[in-house]
Symmetry: C2
Subunit: 503 residues, 2 copies
């Protein structure tokens, strides 16, 4: 392969082949091709780079062999994970953004896109905090202020929140915390907190075990008495509470913690209040569903995730900061890269060099508008309610929580347990049945939901295997949901016959 | 805008407009349009999202107004930062990757691309560590093993290295470290360590001030006597050394620390040895320049960066691990997302959901081949030597370090100080002169280098402002370098006349 040619104008044959691959991806009904782990491993087991570059045509052949092996998340029967097919303009925008290759860590290496990032963050800040216009006019482009930071995803946004909270409360050196007589430091939140908080506390040197996962009520919301008790216990034990976490859209149930009450407790105690709205944040676009997030504007920091309900590609999260000077707790500079007095966003971000993904958000905001997001959110949340009704009406299923957003947890019951009281032994059987069912459905490849494991009030401390549906693809219709449930009933019969032959 | 249309097939007019924008970007000779901060701020100061989505044609008009305001890093006169124009196939690949929207955190949400990621990491591991083939065959797709992890960039790769090293050495809870009688924990490396290490130590709760930046020798390499003294001091003070850092390509000089000696010391002391080869790693493709990195295969972990000399888009770093079980120090699971016994790469990564950027690496490896990278690396490194010779031969410039890779630090001398002995007062003048020169060159927009500040042996502890050239764009020719230097001489005359009117 000639190197000059490689850097020259795009090859129309390559472009046409990519278009064909994408058309096939978008045309597929099945949630995936049958799963073939061994074949994947054999196809992809060469530790050597080729000495000479191959012809683009040969690489296209490689792509044509590989791409059918991905998840077909554009299929209307794929309802399993928190990623959806994207608006069609996104592909062209990706081509533009990637080839421009701008780095908004530094104004000098992205220029206008640094300012675009600030404008996008202001729009999201306003969505959440509804501050007056003059606040945005004075803060949006102020040098030592940030209405938020862009990250590579929700995990880094949550980690950044803990980092800001810890540095603000006790600084960056935990040996000093010990000198002040503290015996540990924790965060408090519900048992449904995202696992990125465990990573964050591990990373921060406070220990993953210092994530205190407290009880939830019957609606999967953090129990306030449990929170008050934990705060009192920490005080008695000289353990510093770094932050209280409110979940605004739990990954399994879409449940939302009682944010106004959490905010009041955090304020009373002088503790940082962080809301993880990675999933639920865009609920704010809908006047109808917005009350679910009442109280979010009282959070010191809020995590949003671009690739979830904001419908931009993977790789972008945001941490919004109520007070634009909070980021000073982690401000940094470097002689060749980021200057103390500048517009360089890299002073405040955990990451260094990173792509200018604010452009995806700008395009989505401008092309969808608030009305577009509202329509999509409401359609998806309504659809979840219809799916919940279908599940609730069928004795082959048990709905495990009332729909809140567009995430549903339920399970399939084997025929011999339908309509029966379910004791511990029955749940053991149902767990095995649902694991086998989810694997069989994935292996068959016609339709797909994911699987989780939780305890739930009616069944005490027994871990329950749950099926988990995500209604995010706007193309999903009620008939698709019916088809997915019908696949489960059909596969369930065979699996029950194998697993419970004696019953 | 009709939502169904937005999700339907791409709009050919949108695609054609993106192609036109990119053609203009690639055609530009100037390093950027004249800098207009106020105009950027005014163009981008709307905190409100539009209620209704705009027509794609209207959004194209917005893009046409915005895009000329970016850094023209495809220009042959842009030699300022560590990002280059990308091979032409990358844009089409971006379109594919973004629209597939696969998430390699979890096998189930990326399937074959999880295995592709492992294959790509194996290829990079082999480039660095040259383990035997059976090692790769047994480890590449083993469940509880990782030859490395993908990250969003070099910063997270370096942070992950410190995280692994700390957890391996002392666990995730620093209160336990105190109980063991330690009074602090540090990392040791040269004064030229990347600032991501400060961030990392801050994040880890060990304190940014616990990055011990040690002296370098005349060639900007970590001084071994200084390292030995620091180790002895830490031992005497009951301070735990978490890691020794070797820099393999410093950001300002491309200098490489004495890796074999550092490895031997780390082994003797039982300390984690990390090499930051974010810039220099791909030097290994060149048999001619490869000796620069001798000893790198003895590192416990090595950072590489995709967007630098590996020529893939921003947003991808890699941390390679010599021992595939090192990642167990941070292993994590979550009920709905990543399973303990699985192929889920999310068990080991700092980030959660993230894009399947391994595909960019796969394409670059297959299409460029080792020979392609070798040719590019050698051409760039050779070019830096020619530029150094031009600078060295001209009394208007002072070359500040011998070229090692393709990063050059130099400064421009005002006419009245050319050929003079340079004392402290002269350096103060030269500093002001070079700051003004770099800003003027950037503002004019014909050509661009970046600016840094360092101390250097001949001038003691006085901070010196340096110009910094990065020879990464393969299109740069000697005539372009001459043009850039001529711009500096021309602008320098005017600036000197203003700054030093009395001389």
């Amino acid at each position: 392969m000639n190197l000059t040619e490689l850097f020259a104008k795009p090859d129309p044959a390559f472009a046409a082949a990519v278009t064909r691959l994408l058309e096939r991806f978008h045309r597929t009904d099945d949630s995936e091709a049958p799963y073939r782990r061994d074949r994947f491993c054999q196809q992809l087991d060469d530790p050597c780079m080729p000495e000479n570059g191959m012809d683009p045509q040969a690489y296209l052949t490689r792509l044509e062999q590989l791409i059918p092996g991905v998840s077909h998340l554009a299929s209307r029967h794929y309802m399993g994970h928190m990623t959806a097919p994207l608006p069609a303009f996104t592909g062209e925008l990706a081509r533009l953004l990637v080839m421009l290759n701008q780095n908004p860590m530094k104004m000098e290496s992205s220029r206008l896109l640094s300012f675009l990032e600030r404008e996008v963050l202001a729009k999201l800040h306003r969505l959440v905090y509804q501050a007056p216009d003059d606040f945005y006019q004075s803060q949006m482009h102020a040098k030592d202020a940030a209405l938020g930071v862009m990250t590579s995803g929700g995990t880094i946004a949550n980690v950044t929140a803990l980092w800001l909270a810890r540095n603000h409360a006790v600084g960056d050196n935990l040996f000093h915390l010990v000198e002040q007589g503290y015996r540990g430091a924790v965060i408090l939140g519900s048992r449904l907190m995202h696992y990125s908080f465990d990573k964050g506390m591990d990373l921060l040197g406070l220990g993953a075990a210092s994530v205190r996962r407290l009880e939830t009520d019957a609606d999967n919301r953090l129990s306030l008495p449990a929170l008050e008790a934990a705060i009192a216990e920490c005080r008695a034990q000289r353990i510093k509470v770094i932050a209280i976490i409110g979940v605004a859209g739990s990954t399994d149930f879409g449940s939302v913690d009682p944010l106004p009450e959490l905010a009041a407790i955090a304020r009373r105690e002088g503790i940082h209040f962080h809301v993880d709205a990675a999933w639920g944040g865009p609920t704010l676009f809908s006047p109808r569903y917005q009350p679910l997030l009442a109280g979010i504007a009282q959070a010191d920091t809020v995590t949003l995730d671009g690739h979830k309900q904001l419908l931009i590609p993977l790789g972008t999260g945001m941490l919004l900061c109520k007070r634009p000077d909070l980021v000073m707790a982690v401000k940094r500079e470097a002689p060749y890269a980021i200057r103390a007095s500048s517009f360089d966003q890299g002073r405040f971000t955990l990451e260094g060099t990173r792509p200018a993904n604010a452009l995806y958000l700008d395009a989505a905001f401008q092309l969808l508008g608030e009305a577009g997001y509202r329509t999509l959110i409401e359609a998806n949340y309504d659809k979840a309610r219809r799916m919940a009704a279908l599940i609730d009406a069928d004795p082959a299923f048990e709905l495990m929580s009332a729909p809140v957003m567009n995430l549903l947890s339920y399970r399939c019951l084997p025929p011999h347990l339908q309509g029966q009281p379910l004791d511990e032994a029955a749940n053991v059987q149902i767990n095995a049945f649902n694991v086998a069912l989810q694997k069989a459905q994935r292996a068959e490849g016609h339709s797909f939901v994911s699987r989780t494991q939780r305890t739930l009030p009616p069944y005490g401390d027994q871990p329950l295997v749950l099926l988990r549906a995500v209604l995010l693809n706007p193309a999903i219709e009620e008939s698709d949901i019916q088809a997915l449930l019908a696949d489960q009933i059909r596969l369930g019969r065979t699996i029950a016959a194998e697993l419970f032959a004696g019953h």
